[in-house]
């Protein structure tokens, strides 16, 4: 009973992390860059759904699609403003612009929406459904299934579409890809759009389950970093696996540890993996690691 419930808690958390982790790993794969503002893209997504569903009174599903579109556009804009101009620079420079973008977005949202808590008004809180010895709410079921659906969509995008192939080609070897006529800047923009759209979708799901605040994207994004390291950086199945791994480890971990260490668990796993299994579970290359 307890273990099942812990597992379900972990899976819900993992689904939320996964949507951020996929975008992060795609962007890392193509640019070798940690996108520090990815969580803020998710946050902006959540707020755009809020505008549609609460301010204009449309159903949340409409807000969800608007958020996806807004996320994609924001992704392109972030790439254009903060990453493209420093593409050829030192890695730290990209990191700094990403951090600056994250500060910028957090405060822009705080400026427009205020710092008070917002929710989607999804109706009264009710007790979850009890099945197989665990309890899960309708919203949580929707979250898990939407996350899985979006993962399948990502798989189709990467494997089946032409642009997906190009993304893989650029991620593999940018110079080579350019030499066979792929416009790598366009591919990068598409990757940002796609990854950011996923993050925005994730933001809406997180907000539906919890609530909206300007800082809401920060922690999930850091957890998503941990997830992609565990799964093997650059690998999409790895990112998904890692997300669930981190979600489960956190929730099962604090059953045994004082709960104040909840966040430390993810970081501890991260360090262990970096030291002893730096390629992660699904990683192929010994990338970034001393030989």
């Amino acid at each position: 009973m307890v273990l099942e419930q812990l597992a379900v808690n972990g899976i819900i958390a993992g689904s939320e992390y996964a949507l951020l982790a996929i975008g992060l790993t795609l962007i890392y794969g193509i640019l070798r860059l940690i996108h520090f503002a990815h969580g803020e893209v998710a946050m902006v997504g959540a707020y755009s759904a809020f505008v549609v569903s609460v301010v204009f009174g449309l159903p949340l599903i409409a807000g969800f699609f608007v958020a996806i579109a807004a996320g994609a556009l924001l992704g392109i804009a972030v790439n254009r403003i903060a990453f493209r101009p420093v593409r050829k620079q030192h890695i730290l420079i990209g990191l700094i612009t990403a951090i600056a973008v994250s500060i910028l977005l957090q405060n822009a949202i705080a400026l427009f929406f205020g710092n008070d808590i917002k929710t989607y008004n999804l109706g009264a809180v009710e007790k979850g459904i009890e099945v197989f010895g665990f309890i899960i709410t309708k919203t949580q079921i929707v979250i898990v299934f939407t996350a899985v659906a979006l993962m399948l969509l990502t798989w189709a995008f990467i494997k089946k579409t032409k642009i997906g192939q190009q993304v893989r080609a650029v991620a593999d070897n940018r110079e080579l890809a350019e030499s066979i006529g792929i416009d790598s800047e366009k591919v990068i923009a598409c990757t940002f759009a796609f990854g950011s759209a996923l993050a925005a979708a994730g933001g809406v799901l997180i907000a539906a389950e919890t609530n909206l605040a300007p800082m809401m994207g920060l922690m999930p994004n850091i957890k998503a970093f941990a997830a992609i390291i565990v799964g093997g950086i650059g690998s999409i199945p790895g990112a998904i696996f890692g997300s669930y791994f981190i979600g489960l480890a956190e929730n099962i971990g604090i059953w045994f540890l004082p709960s104040g260490y909840k966040d430390a668990i993810a970081f501890f796993i991260l360090v262990i993996f970096l030291l002893f299994m730096p390629t992660g579970i699904f990683g192929k290359k010994k990338e970034g690691i001393e030989q």
Partner: protein, 297 residues
């Protein structure tokens, strides 16, 4: 009045100059992207405060702050030897968060989130550094010593070897450079100075809590390093000066209460983006750092 304000800023500049110089040693010179520097800062602060408040003299707490931080630097250098580029960045980030978690949860020792109030101003061999002027003199002397020690180190064979490693590790090894040992030394020395800065900070501000030594602090230090120029010690000082002073003029923008905070942050972030894009090598950096870019070989 105004003098107190200026002195306060100068003390902060001294403390942050030590931090950014020490981070520059690790990141700019040795090429290891360290996102856990605030943890060394915090370890130094806590070590010094706990030792001094247990009744030991300030100088002992001060030295111990450096030594204990250096010990953690040694620990963190273990992953630093195996990881490269942003992998190392993530590992050090995790290290910082783990240290913060310990400071929060180990309440018997650190008082946890309540923090430690009433930290005494230092007294060294009978001289009390309790006025702003005296404290500034102390901070300035320590910052100056830190600068000359680091400058001396970097001008020695150690510094040249670090540069060589940052450029190309295998070529440096082929010239007999023990790459791992040098990196480890850089980490330990960097952590040592960050620990000293922590002690200096804690006894100035008189209250510390785990919330002070977080990722945001490390990012501020990194910004100082990047702004001044990676691999430029003088640049780090300049970076500290600019980033401590930059928010100050923004305090004079009179705005309604609900927008003043966020807007200030937005302006700050925008200035950073523009600066970094226009001057990606920092104001004093003259070099191109192929070494840190995670080349996948």
């Amino acid at each position: 009045m105004i003098e107190a304000y200026i002195l306060h800023l100068l003390i902060f500049i001294c403390i942050y100059a030590i931090l950014s110089m020490s981070l520059n040693l690790i990141t700019g010179y040795a090429g290891m992207l360290n996102l856990g520097h605030a943890a060394f800062f915090g370890i130094g602060a806590y070590a010094s405060v706990l030792i001094v408040m247990a009744g030991f003299p300030f100088w002992l707490g001060f030295i111990a702050a450096g030594a204990i931080a250096a010990f953690f630097g040694l620990l963190l250098s273990v992953p630093a030897l195996r990881l490269r580029g942003d992998f190392l960045a993530i590992a050090t980030l995790a290290f910082g968060e783990i240290i913060r978690s310990i400071l929060v949860n180990w309440t018997e020792f650190t008082r946890g989130p309540l923090g430690i109030p009433g930290i005494p101003k230092p007294e060294i061999f009978g001289i009390a550094f309790d006025s702003l002027w005296m404290y500034f003199i102390l901070a300035f002397i320590i910052a100056a010593v830190a600068y000359f020690v680091l400058r001396h180190l970097l001008n020695s064979n150690f510094g040249i070897a670090l540069k060589a490693i940052r450029e190309n590790e295998s070529v440096a090894a082929s010239l007999g450079k023990n790459v791992n040992l040098l990196k480890m030394q850089a980490f330990v020395v960097g952590a040592f100075f960050a620990g000293l800065a922590g002690s200096l900070f804690a006894h100035y501000i008189t209250f510390i809590d785990p919330g002070t030594f977080v990722l945001g602090e490390t990012i501020l230090m990194l910004l100082m390093v990047a702004l001044g120029g990676m691999g430029s010690l003088e640049g780090s000082i300049l970076g500290a000066i600019i980033l401590i002073l930059l928010p100050e003029p923004l305090r004079f923008i009179g705005l309604p209460s609900a927008v003043v905070g966020p807007l200030r942050q937005i302006i700050y972030a925008a200035i950073l983006i523009v600066l970094v894009i226009k001057k990606p090598r920092g104001l004093l950096g003259t070099q191109w750092f192929g070494g840190i870019v995670s080349d996948s070989n």
